[in-house]
């Protein structure tokens, strides 16, 4: 739960609370993607993350 509190605090400080619902949706979607693909491997060519 610590991570949720930290994220909330971060969004509050950055005045970006409007991102919260989006983060929720994206996390759910991302979670589904994890379930769908099984393993996590960074792409070869280039990533900006």
């Amino acid at each position: 739960m610590g991570i949720i509190a930290e994220l909330w605090e971060f969004l509050r400080t950055r005045k970006k609370l409007w991102l919260a619902p989006l983060i929720f949706i994206m996390l759910v979607l991302g979670g589904l993607l994890i379930l769908a693909q099984g393993s996590v491997v960074a792409p070869f060519i280039y990533t900006l993350f």
């Binding site: 610590g2 991302g30 993607l33 060519i45």
Partner: protein
């Protein structure tokens, strides 16, 4: 007060330890793990730093990570949102990595520290996060010799920032202007790195080395279509030509169409087109750097400039900037890439967060020649070489100098490992391959038989500081090989009309000066000035070589083969020596000759490392 700085989880992870604002130790993890650009938590580098300082983990005041993961996540989300529904493929690749791992970086880091140091300390409370570009700016300003300076950082992207301007005064460092993602000079350069068939985040310096073989014929095309450059150097990219916001590549089909074809396949033959593209993006980069510098000088009135960030490793642009005379003095952080972020994060916490006064370095700067890594004692070297079954001779300090200089004058390629390892991407005479620059065949021989890399790649000269002006059109310090200057007019060899008409790689075979092995096709050289105070043994060696040959210069290239991290230990040095056509190896006071070694210890080194 001890502060540990860490950079990791993107590329080139590193650790740095400072004591009361002085740099005690700094090293990149790749040197220990032997995995190029290793991005894992720098366990070995951290352990080394703690050992060098001789302290217990409980003595650490803080551990500072070089960037802010949440802010990076914010940038990713907002970028996906701005481009949705495009970018789903990139999103579907990125999100699982973030959700499983990167979003929990604080916990990951805390656990790593617990694992490494035990849980006597509440590591979570000791852990701090700096901003990526502030880390770069701090790494550029605090070790610099200036009380007051403008600080320019340029790289691909941190959290949001891609270019920043800060002002440093004493212990204060304040960011004044920023350019944000997706507009990035680093990413523009990387796009051309990708398009010319080199690896992004690693092959940029190859593009820079390739540029002098080409004509900058695409400059107008780039400026008319890809980038809008303002008078103050700020810029905006036309994102319709790039794929990096939404895809997993740098450029797209529109970019291909603009430049008349697809990206070059890695390792396929290099053509004049790639050389012209490299020359063009280099020219545009130089224009932006100069304009940014002029803008900063006008805005701030500063006479000193500090630089860091990956683009600050573009020594050609740096050389032009220096010659333009926009600033009286320029100082560039030798570990300008992300590894240097570890150093900046620690220094930033000390001076900005803790408000501690800055002691201005009494010598050239506070980097101590960038010799901040591990050193090995004579006993350690002897044990390592004996265990590796090497045949060696132990000699006196004077003999090290005399015998090595004689071997170099005799045309031998020498592996040279002395003192502390360098921090940053350049070998500066601590972990170097050295040779005679007067030999016309040396560049090709070193590239193909020793380094196993592309034949077009240039080599840099190490020159005695007090002789630099005689051989190069430069009269100042350049201890970190971050400035390019032309070979002095009187040392050049005039090309015949026929030679002058040669194009591309064919130019490589024409000797262009009295020191052809370090003279690039445009007469330029990436100069390293060697100073007796920071590396006396290397200085003595060049001095002796000069006595024998009348040339105060050596070819200096990093001690590794293509794709291999620069060597760290005597074992690494011996393995590289036996895997390449190096003739002599000098490690501390031990000299090894190839002909004395057991043939069965030779190994195929050429294919050992993944190509970079």
């Amino acid at each position: 007060m001890y502060i540990l700085g860490i950079s990791a989880y993107y590329h080139d992870s590193a650790a740095c330890l400072i004591r009361d604002g002085d740099i005690v130790a700094a090293a990149q993890e790749e040197r220990f793990t032997r995995k190029k650009h290793d991005d894992r938590f720098p366990i070995n580098a951290v352990q080394y730093c703690m050992k060098e300082a001789g302290i217990e983990p409980t003595e650490l005041e803080a551990v500072v990570f070089y960037e802010k993961p949440f802010m990076k996540f914010e940038r990713l989300l907002e970028t996906y949102l701005a481009f949705a529904p495009r970018g789903f493929r990139s999103f579907s690749t990125a999100m699982p990595i973030w959700i499983k791992d990167k979003l929990f970086q604080k916990s990951v880091l805390t656990n790593q520290l617990k694992e490494l140091f035990g849980d006597d300390v509440d590591w979570r409370s000791k852990l701090l996060f700096s901003e990526h570009h502030l880390s770069h700016a701090a790494s550029a300003f605090y070790p610099s010799p200036f009380q007051k300076a403008a600080v320019l950082t340029l790289d691909a992207v941190g959290e949001w920032t891609t270019t920043s301007l800060a002002l440093g005064d004493g212990k204060d460092l304040k960011v004044h202007k920023e350019i944000h993602f997706p507009h990035s000079l680093g990413l523009l350069y990387s796009a051309f790195t990708y398009y010319t068939g080199f690896r992004v985040n690693s092959g940029e310096y190859k593009v820079m080395g390739l540029a002098p073989y080409g004509e900058p014929k695409y400059v107008d095309l780039i400026k008319d279509n890809l980038i809008d450059i303002k008078e103050d150097g700020s810029f905006q990219l036309d994102l319709s030509y790039f794929d990096y916001c939404t895809g997993l590549r740098m450029t797209n089909k529109k970019f291909d169409k603009l430049f008349g074809g697809p990206a070059r396949q890695p390792e396929s033959e290099l053509t004049q087109r790639e050389m012209d593209l490299a020359a063009s993006v280099q020219k545009v980069t130089e224009e932006i750097v100069i304009k940014l510098a002029k803008g900063i000088a006008k805005d701030t009135g500063a006479r000193n400039l500090c630089m860091a960030g990956g683009v600050a490793l573009n020594c050609v642009a740096n050389g032009i900037l220096l010659r333009e005379g926009v600033f009286d003095n320029i100082w560039i952080q030798p570990a300008a890439g992300d590894a240097g972020g570890a150093l900046g994060a620690a220094l930033g916490a000390y001076h900005i967060l803790h408000g501690k006064e800055r002691k201005l370095s009494q010598s050239r700067d506070a980097m101590r020649g960038s010799y901040l890594g591990p050193e090995f004692s004579s006993e350690e070297i002897e044990t390592a070489l004996t265990e590796a079954k090497a045949k060696f001779t132990k000699v006196s300090d004077q003999e090290v100098t005399d015998l090595t200089a004689a071997a170099l004058a005799d045309g031998k390629a020498v592996g040279w490992m002395q003192g502390r390892m360098e921090f940053g991407p350049r070998a500066l005479g601590g972990r170097s391959i050295i040779a005679d620059p007067r030999s016309p065949a040396m560049q090709k021989q070193l590239n193909l038989k020793v380094k196993y890399r592309e034949s077009f790649r240039p080599f840099a000269p190490s020159v005695l500081r007090d002789r630099v002006a005689e051989w190069f059109e430069h009269d100042g310090d350049s201890p970190y090989m971050l400035l390019v200057a032309d070979v002095a007019e009187e040392k050049r060899r005039k090309m015949t009309d026929e030679e002058g008409k040669l194009f591309g790689i064919a130019k490589l075979n024409v000797p262009r000066s009295e020191v052809p092995a370090i003279t690039h096709v445009d007469y330029s050289a990436r100069v390293q000035t060697v100073h007796a105070d920071t590396n006396p043994r290397y200085h003595d060696l060049i001095d002796k070589f000069n006595e024998l040959t009348g040339c105060p210069i050596l070819v200096n290239t990093s001690f590794n083969v293509r794709g291999e991290p620069i060597i760290c230990s005597p074992e690494d040095a011996f393995h590289c020596f036996m895997g390449t056509e190096l003739d002599v190896l000098v490690v501390g006071n031990f000299i090894l000759r190839k002909e004395d070694q057991d043939e069965s210890l030779k190994q195929n080194y050429e294919d050992k490392y993944e190509l970079d």
